[in-house]
C-alpha cells in the first residue's frame, strides 16, 4: 500500500521526494541545536573566571544563524509541500467520483453499497485522515527518525540505562493508547449508530422542507426531546470510552515514572562522579527531546497503521471491476430499433421476491408503447432493465437483435432519451443543462429543443437567456423553475439528445390538466420516427400509443390496442373505467344521489 502511494507521488509530483530529503535534513538537525546550545553555554560558564564574553556572544550568534536558517528551511519546505500533498488526495477523490459515475447503475440503488465502501470514501475526505493523513506523516517521519537516531547514539554512548528507561516508557504509552483505541474500535458500531441518529435529527430540524409539517403537527418539542436523547446517549458512550482511556493512562504514567527515574538517577550518579553540569543539562535536554520525538514517531506510525485500512479500502474500491464497461458492441445504427423482452424475470439484487416473471414483449421499430400497471407492478423497473441500469435475473432483452449486455455501456446509454419521474435541474446554465455538456454545444439545436418543449418563451424572458444559471446555489441570480417548467426542461434535454429510443416515465404526475395535455400532444413530435415507451398512471396517455402493455407479477398480463383491451374487459378495462367514470356526463348526479357511482 505504502509502495503504491509512493509510486503515485513519483508519477504525479516527483519533486516531492527531493523536497522531503531537504526537509529531513533541516528538520532532523534542528532539535539538535537546542540540545547543544545549553551544553556550550554552560560549558563556557563553568570555566568561571576564565569564561570569555566573546565566546558567549559567538555561541549565541552561531546558534541564531544555524537555528534561524534550518528553522526557516524546515517550515517553508513543510508548508510548500502541504498543499501538494492535499492535491494528491483530491486526485483520488476525483477518481472515486468518476468511478461512481461510471460503475454499473445497480450499485447505486444497493443500500449496502455505500456501507461496503464507506471506508474507501472516508479515505479522501479530510486533510488529516486517510490518504492525505498518511502522506503528511510519511513526509515528516524521515526527519523524526534522523533526530531519533542521532539522539539515541548520543545517549546510548552515555548510558544504555537511560535509553532503556525511555524505551520502556514509550512502550507503556503506546500500549496504553493501543488498548484504549481497541476499546473504542470495539464500540464503533454503537457509536456510529448514535452519530447517525444525531445526524438524522440535525438534518430534519434544519431542513426547511420539513418546516410546514413540524409546525402543522406541533412536532417541535417531540423532535427536540428525541434529539436530546440521542445526544445524551452518544455522550454516555463517549464517556465510557474516555473513562477507559483514562484508566489505561495510569500505565502511561507508570512508564513516565520509570523513564524519568532512570534518567535522573543515572545522570545524577554520573554528575556526582565527574560529569560536568554542562553535560548533565545537555543530556537532560537530549532525553526530553528524545522522549518527545519517540512519542511523536509512535503517533505517526499509529496513524499510518490506523488510516492504512481506509487507504487499502480506497485502493480496493478503485481496483474492483464494478461493471463500468459492459460489452463492446457499438450503438445500433437504425433510427428506430426493435426491442424484444424474451422471457425476462427479475428480482432486485439481494432480494428473492420477483418483481415479474417470464415477461415477453416486443416493441417493433418505430412503435409507441404504453406501459401501465398498479403501483409496484414494475413499470419503472422494466425500463431500467432495458437501459442496462440493472441486469435481468433470467431471460434476455435484445435491441435490434443484440442482447443489452453486449453493448458497450456508453454506447447503450447513448441510444436512449429518457424523461424520468423525478426531475433534477442542475446548477449549470440553461444551455448546459439541455445539452448535457460544457463545450461544443449546438445552440441552434438547444433552441429548437426548448421551443418544442414549450419553454423557449420563458427562457427568452430571462436576462441572460440560455446563458442564465439554473438554481441559486452557485449564482444568486440563477433561475428557479416551477415543477412544470422543470419537466419541460427535462423534455427539452431529451429532445436535444435526439436518441433513437424515447422513454417517458410518469412525466406528468405534477402537472395541471392543460400542461399534461400539452405534453401528450408534444409526445408525438418528440418520438417521430423513433421507438418510444410511455409509462403513466394516467391511462388517458395510452390514447396516442400504438399498443398498451399492462404488466404485473406474471409479466405482460394484457397486451393490445386500447380498443382491444377495452373489449376484453380485464384489468385494463377496470382501471380505465375507474379513472374515467367521473368524467362521464352524469357522474356528479350519480355521486350526489347515490353516494357513489357504481361500475362493473
Amino acid at each position: 500500500m505504502i509502495r503504491r502511494m509512493l509510486a503515485n507521488v513519483k508519477r504525479q509530483k516527483p519533486a516531492l521526494f527531493g523536497v522531503c530529503a531537504l526537509y529531513t535534513l533541516a528538520a532532523g538537525l534542528y532539535p539538535f541545536l537546542a540540545v547543544l546550545l545549553p551544553r556550550f553555554m554552560i560549558g563556557e560558564l563553568e570555566k568561571g573566571s576564565g569564561a570569555s564574553v566573546k565566546a558567549v556572544v559567538m555561541i549565541a550568534a552561531g546558534y541564531f544563524v544555524l537555528a534561524g536558517c534550518l528553522g526557516l528551511a524546515r517550515t517553508y519546505l513543510e508548508k510548500w509541500s502541504y498543499n501538494k500533498l492535499s492535491l494528491l488526495r483530491l486526485d483520488y477523490l476525483k477518481d472515486c467520483c468518476v468511478k461512481i459515475m461510471d460503475m454499473a447503475y445497480f450499485h447505486v440503488e444497493d443500500a449496502g453499497f455505500m456501507m461496503k465502501y464507506d471506508k474507501a470514501f472516508i479515505a479522501t475526505q479530510s486533510n488529516d485522515n486517510g490518504v492525505e493523513g498518511i502522506y503528511h506523516r510519511l513526509f515528516e517521519l524521515p526527519a523524526l527518525i534522523l533526530t531519533i537516531l542521532i539522539l539515541t547514539i548520543q545517549i546510548g554512548f552515555l548510558s544504555p540505562w537511560v535509553l532503556l528507561g525511555l524505551c520502556a516508557g514509550l512502550l507503556c504509552r503506546v500500549t496504553a493508547s493501543r488498548k484504549s483505541y481497541a476499546y473504542r474500535y470495539g464500540r464503533e458500531t454503537e457509536i456510529a449508530g448514535w452519530r447517525r441518529r444525531i445526524q438524522y435529527y440535525s438534518r430534519v430540524t434544519s431542513d426547511f422542507s420539513y418546516g410546514k409539517d413540524i409546525r402543522m403537527y406541533g412536532l417541535k418539542d417531540r423532535i427536540r426531546a428525541n434529539y436530546d436523547r440521542q445526544i445524551d446517549g452518544y455522550r454516555k458512550v463517549r464517556a465510557l470510552v474516555a473513562g477507559r482511556e483514562y484508566r489505561w493512562g495510569f500505565l502511561a504514567l507508570a512508564g513516565l515514572l520509570l523513564g524519568d527515574a532512570l534518567t535522573y538517577g543515572t545522570l545524577l550518579y554520573r554528575a556526582l562522579h565527574g560529569m560536568s553540569i554542562a553535560e548533565f543539562s545537555m543530556y537532560l535536554t537530549a532525553a526530553a527531546t528524545l522522549t518527545g520525538c519517540l512519542s511523536q514517531a509512535a503517533d505517526k506510525f499509529g496513524v499510518i497503521l490506523g488510516e492504512g485500512q481506509y487507504v487499502r479500502a480506497l485502493y480496493g474500491f478503485l481496483d474492483t471491476d464494478l461493471g463500468e464497461r459492459g460489452g463492446d458492441h457499438p450503438a445500433c445504427s437504425s433510427g428506430a430499433p426493435e426491442i424484444v423482452f424474451d422471457d425476462v424475470s427479475f428480482c432486485y439484487p439481494g432480494s428473492d421476491t420477483y418483481v415479474f416473471r417470464h415477461l415477453n414483449l416486443t416493441i417493433h421499430a418505430g412503435e409507441k408503447l404504453a406501459v401501465v400497471g398498479v403501483n409496484g407492478a414494475g413499470k419503472s423497473t422494466l425500463v431500467k432493465l432495458l437501459m442496462g441500469l440493472f441486469s435481468v435475473t433470467e431471460g434476455q432483452i435484445r435491441i435490434d437483435g443484440t442482447p443489452v449486455e453486449e453493448y458497450d455501456k456508453k454506447a447503450l446509454y447513448s441510444m436512449f432519451a429518457p424523461v424520468f419521474q423525478e426531475i433534477n435541474a442542475l446548477a449549470f446554465t440553461v444551455r448546459e443543462n439541455v445539452a448535457g455538456k460544457l463545450t461544443d454545444i449546438d445552440d441552434a439545436k438547444v433552441e429548437e429543443a426548448l421551443r418544442q418543449a414549450g419553454l423557449w418563451e420563458k427562457i427568452e424572458g430571462l436576462p441572460q437567456k440560455t446563458e442564465q444559471m439554473v438554481l441559486k446555489v452557485i449564482d444568486e441570480n440563477g433561475v428557479l423553475f416551477s415543477g412544470g417548467e422543470n419537466q419541460k426542461l427535462a423534455i427539452a434535454r431529451a429532445l436535444c439528445k435526439d436518441a433513437p429510443i424515447v422513454v417517458m416515465d410518469e412525466p406528468t404526475a405534477a402537472l395541471d390538466a392543460l400542461a399534461e395535455e400539452q405534453i401528450y400532444r408534444d409526445f408525438d413530435g418528440l418520438v417521430q420516427g423513433k421507438t418510444a415507451i410511455y409509462i403513466s398512471h394516467r391511462l388517458a396517455s395510452t390514447r396516442f400509443c400504438d399498443h398498451i402493455a399492462l404488466i404485473g407479477p406474471d409479466g405482460v398480463e394484457e397486451y393490445g390496442t386500447h380498443e382491444e383491451l377495452m373489449e376484453r374487459g380485464g384489468e385494463y378495462y377496470r382501471m380505465f373505467t375507474v379513472q374515467g367514470k367521473y368524467y362521464r356526463e352524469n357522474a356528479q348526479r350519480d355521486i350526489l344521489e347515490e353516494g357513489r357511482p357504481s361500475y362493473e
Partner: protein, 592 residues
C-alpha cells in the same frame, strides 16, 4: 460584529449548554500554568545544588520533586482531558442542535426565502468544514492557556531584568506586525476561497448523488460534472498553493525571531552569570531557570499567535451561524383569543399576498366564503396560487392586505396553538419522520389510542401493507435512522400522511394533491371514501385530477392569483370558463 463580541457570544452559548465544560477549561488553564512553572523553576534547585553543596540526599529530594511534579501534572492533564473531550463534542453537538432548533422556531415566512436557505446552508458549514465549531471551542481554551503561560513567564523574566523583557517584547512587537499583515491577507484569501470551496463541494456532491446517477449515465454527464470539479479544484489549489508558500515564509520568519529571542536570552543571562555589568550576578541554577523561562516565553508567543490566528479564522467561518442564531424567533403567539372551534365559517376578505423577495403578487384580491362542513375543491393551473392560499389559511404567512376570517374573526387574532389544533393539512411536499408508522399518524409517543390509528390506517387503504409487516403500526419508518426500519413506497407514504391529517381531529382539513403518487385504483378509493373520511369537517381539496372535484360541494377556480369562479360542478360546466376547459381536456381522454 467584531471578533471579540463573536467569541463572547460563543462562550456564552457554551456556558448555557454545558457550564462544567467551561469550568474544566479554566481548571485546565490553571493546570497548564502550574506545569510550565514547575518545568521552569524546579531544575534550578537541582542545578544549584550540583554546582554547590552536592549533598546526595538533597539532590535526590530535588530530582524527586521534578519527577513527582512531572507525574502529577501528567495525571491532572489526563484527568481533565477525560472530561474535556467528551464535553467538547457535546457542546459541538448542542450547537448544531441549536441551529436546528432555531430553524424550527423561525417564522415560516423565512423558510421559503432563498436568502435564508442559503444562510442556513452556510451556517451549517461550520459543523462540516474542518469542524470549525469544535476547533473554535477548543481553540478558545488553548488561547487562554497560552495567554496564562505568557504572563507567568513575563513575570519571572521581569524579576530578573525588565530590560531583557522589554527587548523580548520589542521582538514580539515585530511578530505582531507580521501577524497582523498575514492575518489580513489570510482573511481576504479565505473570504475569496470559501464561496469557491462551497461550489466545489456542491459539484463533488452531485457526482455521488444517488438520485442523479440515472441522468448522469443516460445523458453522459460524467464529463461535464468531472470537468467542473477539476476546474474548481484547480482554482482552489492555485489559491492555496500561493497561500501556503506565503504561510511558510511567514511562519519561518516568525520562527527565526523566536530563535533570535532564545539567542538573546542565552547571551544576556550568561553575561549575568559571568559579569556584574547589568546587575547582581546570578547562579548557574538561576541561569537555567531564566533561560528556560525565556524559551517558554518565546514559544508561548508562537503558540499564542497560532491559536489567535486559528481562532480568528474559525470565527470568520462563524458569521453565517451567528447571523442565523440571532434572527428573532417567531413571536410566541400566546396572546389572542383561544379558538374554541369548530370552524363554522371561513371568509377571505380582499386578500393580497406577495412572497418575500418577489416582485409579483401571488394572490390578488381574493374573496370568498366557505361554510361549515362544505367540501371545497380548489382548481387551477400550475402556479395559479392554490397552495399559497392554503399556506395563508394555515398561518404560515400573513396576507399583505385584506383579512382571513374564521368564525367572523381574523385568524391572527386567535391564540396560535388553539387555532392550529383545528387545522389539519396534507401538503404537496409533506414529510414523514423516522418514528413508527403509528407515531407518524398520531404525532405522539407510543401508547396513544391504537385502535383509532389502526382504523384510520385501514380507511386510507394501508390495511394490507400493515398486515404484511410483522410489527404492524409499530414498524419504524425509513432506513436512514435505523437499519431495521422499513421503506414505504411513495403511494403508501402518501396514505400515512392522509391518515395523519385525519387523526388530528381538526374541524378543517386540507388535502393538497394527496393522490399524485397513487395508481387509479388507489386514487379512486381515496376519492370515494373522501366524504366518509372527512365526515362533517370543512375540507379543502387540491388536485390536478379534475374528477376529484365531483366529490366536492363547490369549486374554487383560481387563475393568475385571482378567484375566477366559485360554484358547483354542474353550474361551472355550463359556463364557458377555465374550469370547463380543464375538465373537458381530461374528460376527452376517456371519451368513448
Amino acid at each position: 460584529m467584531n471578533n471579540r463580541k463573536k467569541l463572547a457570544l460563543i462562550v456564552r452559548l457554551s456556558w448555557q449548554v454545558c457550564p462544567s465544560y467551561m469550568i474544566l477549561l479554566l481548571i485546565n488553564t490553571v493546570i497548564g500554568g502550574g506545569q510550565i512553572l514547575a518545568t521552569v523553576m524546579l531544575p534550578r534547585f537541582l542545578l544549584d545544588e550540583l554546582a554547590g553543596g552536592r549533598n546526595v540526599k538533597r539532590l535526590l529530594v530535588f530530582a524527586g520533586c521534578i519527577v513527582a511534579a512531572n507525574l502529577l501534572f501528567d495525571w491532572l492533564t489526563r484527568l481533565t482531558k477525560k472530561g474535556l473531550d467528551v464535553r467538547g463534542e457535546y457542546v459541538n453537538q448542542k450547537m448544531e442542535e441549536l441551529l436546528g432548533e432555531k430553524v424550527m422556531n423561525l417564522s415560516y415566512t423565512r423558510l421559503e426565502d432563498p436568502y435564508y436557505l442559503d444562510l442556513k446552508e452556510r451556517a451549517a458549514f461550520v459543523f462540516i468544514n474542518q469542524q470549525a465549531m469544535l476547533q473554535l471551542i477548543n481553540g478558545a481554551g488553548d488561547l487562554l492557556k497560552n495567554g496564562v503561560t505568557l504572563i507567568l513567564m513575563a513575570v519571572i523574566l521581569f524579576t530578573l531584568s525588565p530590560v531583557l523583557l522589554i527587548c523580548l517584547l520589542a521582538l514580539v512587537g515585530v511578530m505582531m506586525l507580521l501577524q497582523k499583515y498575514f492575518y489580513t491577507y489570510q482573511k481576504e484569501m479565505f473570504d475569496e476561497v470559501l464561496p469557491v470551496n462551497r461550489r466545489y463541494n456542491y459539484y463533488v456532491n452531485l457526482t455521488t448523488n444517488g438520485e442523479l446517477q440515472k441522468d448522469i449515465r443516460l445523458y453522459n454527464m460524467a464529463g461535464m460534472l468531472g470537468d467542473r470539479v477539476v476546474d474548481y479544484n484547480r482554482q482552489i489549489m492555485d489559491t492555496f498553493d500561493y497561500f501556503y508558500k506565503k504561510q511558510g515564509l511567514y511562519l519561518g520568519l516568525y520562527g527565526m525571531i523566536n530563535d533570535l529571542q532564545a539567542a538573546l536570552a542565552y547571551a544576556y543571562v550568561a553575561l549575568r552569570v559571568m559579569t556584574g555589568w547589568f546587575g547582581p550576578s546570578i547562579s548557574l541554577g538561576s541561569f537555567s531557570m531564566y533561560v528556560s523561562a525565556a524559551v517558554q516565553f518565546s514559544s508561548g508567543i508562537t503558540k499564542f499567535g497560532d491559536s489567535l490566528l486559528r481562532t480568528g479564522q474559525m470565527l470568520g467561518y462563524l458569521d453565517p451561524f451567528i447571523e442565523l442564531i440571532r434572527l428573532p424567533d417567531e413571536q410566541e403567539q400566546k396572546e389572542g383569543l383561544p379558538f374554541e372551534g369548530p370552524v363554522e365559517s371561513i371568509q377571505f376578505d380582499h386578500v393580497d399576498f406577495t412572497y418575500p423577495g418577489s416582485q409579483k403578487k401571488a394572490l390578488t384580491d381574493i374573496s370568498f366564503t366557505v361554510n361549515k362542513g362544505e367540501k371545497i375543491s380548489v382548481v387551477g393551473v400550475n402556479g395559479a396560487g392554490k397552495s399559497t392560499l392554503i399556506k395563508l389559511l394555515c398561518r404560515l404567512y400573513r396576507p399583505d392586505s385584506g383579512r382571513i376570517l374564521v368564525n367572523g374573526r381574523d385568524i391572527f387574532s386567535y391564540e396560535y396553538n388553539s387555532y392550529m389544533r383545528q387545522v389539519a393539512a396534507v401538503f404537496q411536499d409533506y414529510r414523514l419522520f423516522a418514528f413508527t408508522i403509528g407515531e407518524n399518524i398520531s404525532c405522539r409517543e407510543k401508547g396513544e389510542d391504537r385502535e383509532h390509528i389502526i382504523r384510520l390506517a385501514q380507511q386510507v387503504g394501508l390495511g394490507e401493507k400493515l398486515s404484511s409487516l410483522p410489527d404492524g403500526i409499530d414498524t419504524l419508518l425509513g432506513k436512514e435512522y435505523d437499519e431495521a426500519g422499513t421503506e414505504l413506497s411513495g403511494g403508501q407514504e402518501q396514505k400515512v400522511a392522509i391518515a395523519r391529517a385525519l387523526y388530528k381531529d381538526a374541524s378543517l382539513i386540507i388535502l393538497d394533491e394527496p393522490t399524485s403518487a397513487l395508481d387509479p385504483l388507489a386514487e379512486a378509493e381515496i376519492y370515494e371514501n373522501f366524504h366518509d373520511l372527512a365526515g362533517g369537517r370543512t375540507a379543502f381539496y387540491i388536485s390536478h385530477r379534475m374528477s376529484s372535484s365531483l366529490f366536492c360541494d363547490r369549486i374554487l377556480v383560481i387563475d393568475g392569483g385571482r378567484v375566477a369562479d366559485f360554484d358547483s360542478h354542474e353550474k361551472l360546466m355550463k359556463k364557458d370558463g377555465m374550469y370547463r376547459r380543464l375538465f373537458q381536456t381530461q374528460a376527452d381522454n376517456y371519451a368513448g
